[in-house]
């Protein structure tokens, strides 16, 4: 009796999550091994690994993997470096610190589509955008961001959204830094850089690892920003793996090839996930 009730309480969550994970995964694996093109519904049947071959030999595949990694890497570097710097800056008392910290995290709560269009139109428009006015003010030729630097534009939008997240986590973590140790180091003649390098940075090691891994999971499948601004273009200049799968499935209607791509994305994400799960798991005991 007393063993049954706890299990019954867990059942709904376990069963729904099991379905949510297993059923789509099984279907994706199945789709990826059959001919399933909505434009050619008469052609069906098992085709082995041909969909994978199609996906990987697609001329957009190489660039999309590269774009995914570039997007991921740049955003991680920007958010971690600037995030640590900002967190250190607002960690000490100064007038208006509470307000600064509230303002600082606001971009994280902006929905991705609003974020993307705010940047696309009001900031990055080559004629009327704020950035082009700034460029003109400094006597430079305005940049047509989304046409000439599409991937960088997406990187800026995504980094703007995730910098506050990284910063917020570093601020939280800095609050548990041992003040006495800091003061003792100061008395012993350590300068600001030494204190940062030998005390603060090691303390931030764990939160930095967490930020990197969480961003990996979310940023590997960035979609809305690309969908609403560049549409993956010009050409394939800002197409990442997630957007390529979407293009194959809902624009080219080739479910089979898209499913093969989806499994590729799952594998890619799981490489990141293994590390995060280990780290979090240590925390459970």
């Amino acid at each position: 009796m007393n063993r049954l009730i706890p299990r019954a309480l867990m059942a709904p969550a376990v069963v729904t999550l099991l379905l949510w994970m297993i059923v789509p995964l099984a279907m994706t694996i199945y789709f990826s091994a059959v001919r399933y093109d909505l434009m050619q519904p008469d052609q069906t049947g098992f085709i082995g690994l041909m969909n994978y071959e199609f996906f990987i030999t697609d001329p957009d595949f190489g660039p999309s993997v590269l774009n995914t990694l570039l997007l991921l890497g740049s955003v991680i570097v920007i958010t971690v470096v600037l995030g640590v710097a900002l967190a250190l800056l607002v960690n000490e008392a100064f007038p208006g610190r509470g307000l600064v910290r509230v303002l600082l995290i606001s971009p994280f709560f902006v929905m991705p589509t609003a974020n993307a269009l705010l940047w696309k139109h009001m900031m990055m428009n080559p004629v009327y955008g704020v950035l082009s006015q700034v460029w003109i003010f400094f006597g430079m030729t305005p940049v047509d961001w989304l046409t000439d630097l599409p991937l960088l534009s997406v990187i800026i939008m995504v980094a703007w959204q995730w910098l506050p997240f990284a910063c917020l986590i570093f601020i939280t973590s800095l609050q548990s830094l041992d003040r006495d140790q800091m003061e003792a180091a100061g008395m012993d003649g350590a300068n600001a850089f030494q204190k940062f390098w030998f005390l603060t940075l090691p303390h931030l090691g764990r939160p930095i690892a967490v930020v990197i891994m969480i961003e990996m999971i979310f940023l590997l499948s960035i979609f809305a920003e690309i969908f609403t601004t560049t549409g993956g273009g010009p050409g394939n200049a800002s197409t990442n793996v997630a957007f390529l799968i979407y293009k194959q499935a809902l624009l080219n209607f080739d479910v089979g090839v898209a499913s093969a791509g989806a499994l590729f994305a799952v594998v890619l994400a799981n490489i990141a996930a293994v590390f995060l799960i280990r780290l979090v798991g240590k925390n459970l005991d």
Binding site: A13, T16, L89, F109, L117
Partner: protein
């Protein structure tokens, strides 16, 4: 010397913060401009504010319908999620078995699946069940994609309830139900509220599933805003007004739920 440092710190912190939130300040200003003022060169900082854009957004794109969809899907998925996650988290926090750890880890791992990996099956299933572009379909998908985070947050919240209290209640002969109503419920309100808040934020801002599974009928505000993507015409002021209405409530909620957000999104790995 110390005074100088304080001045430098204050100026640079405020300067960088204002730079970072400048796009949002600009959005706020543009929402109250006319379309011509919105694209004026050089950009205008001072102007006579107008409320026309807000009325126009409603007339041209039925803003309230999308807002209603956003409210319904995020509130329902939050409540549904809490109803499924709370018993599970309660059971794992207070009746630990040797499987508890594995179950938690497995739940976490389902969140690691990139959404795009499940897009096709979910799309096909929603289509055959007639749930494309319906509020029911979106609510179910939002609930499921937030469920792992909710179980985790509630689990760590419940675990902070001291077990001594429970033991005392059991000694006094309380049943599982009595224990739940009289002891756990009052103490669990905090974790429940913060988990709900986080889930509300995540569902409200969700864009991947809403863009792919909904459009004119069940579209959320994220979908409405995405429809302003076209390069033609004068619409910046209206886009700003629509965006402002869509993000303002959740930014305010976000300000109050920062701490929960850190814990929820890092699965308790940073405290």
């Amino acid at each position: 010397m110390k005074h100088l440092f304080l001045v430098i710190r204050t100026v640079s912190a405020w300067g960088l913060t204002l730079l970072l939130v400048f796009p949002l300040i600009w959005l706020l200003l543009t929402a109250f401009k006319t379309e011509l003022q919105a694209i004026a060169v050089p950009p205008q900082l001072f102007f006579t504010p107008t409320l026309d854009n807000f009325a126009e957004v409603q007339v041209r794109s039925d803003y309230l319908l999308f807002a209603k969809n956003s409210i319904i899907t995020s509130v329902l998925s939050t409540l549904l999620g809490l109803a499924i996650a709370a018993p599970a988290a309660y059971s794992m926090a207070f009746f630990r078995t040797r499987w508890t750890r594995d179950v938690l880890m497995w739940m976490l791992s389902t969140k690691m699946m990139p959404a795009v990996g499940a897009l096709l099956p979910i799309y096909v299933m929603a289509q055959s069940a007639g749930m494309l572009d319906t509020l029911t379909g979106l609510t179910i998908v939002f609930t499921l994609s937030n469920l792992p985070i909710m179980v985790w947050m509630l689990y760590s919240g419940f675990k902070d309830i001291p077990p001594d209290i429970l033991e005392a209640a059991r000694m006094d002969g309380a049943s599982i139900w009595g224990e739940f109503v009289h002891v756990i419920r009052p103490l669990a309100m905090g974790p429940l509220a913060s988990t709900g808040l986080l889930c509300l934020v995540l569902s409200w801002n969700e864009a991947f599933w809403s863009l792919n599974l909904s459009s004119a009928k069940a579209g959320t505000l994220a979908v409405l805003i995405a429809s302003y993507s076209s390069p033609e015409g004068l619409f910046w002021a209206k886009l700003s007004a629509a965006s402002l209405l869509a993000i303002a409530p959740i930014v305010v909620v976000g300000w109050f739920s920062q701490k929960q957000l850190v814990q929820g999104l890092t699965f308790g790995a940073v405290k």
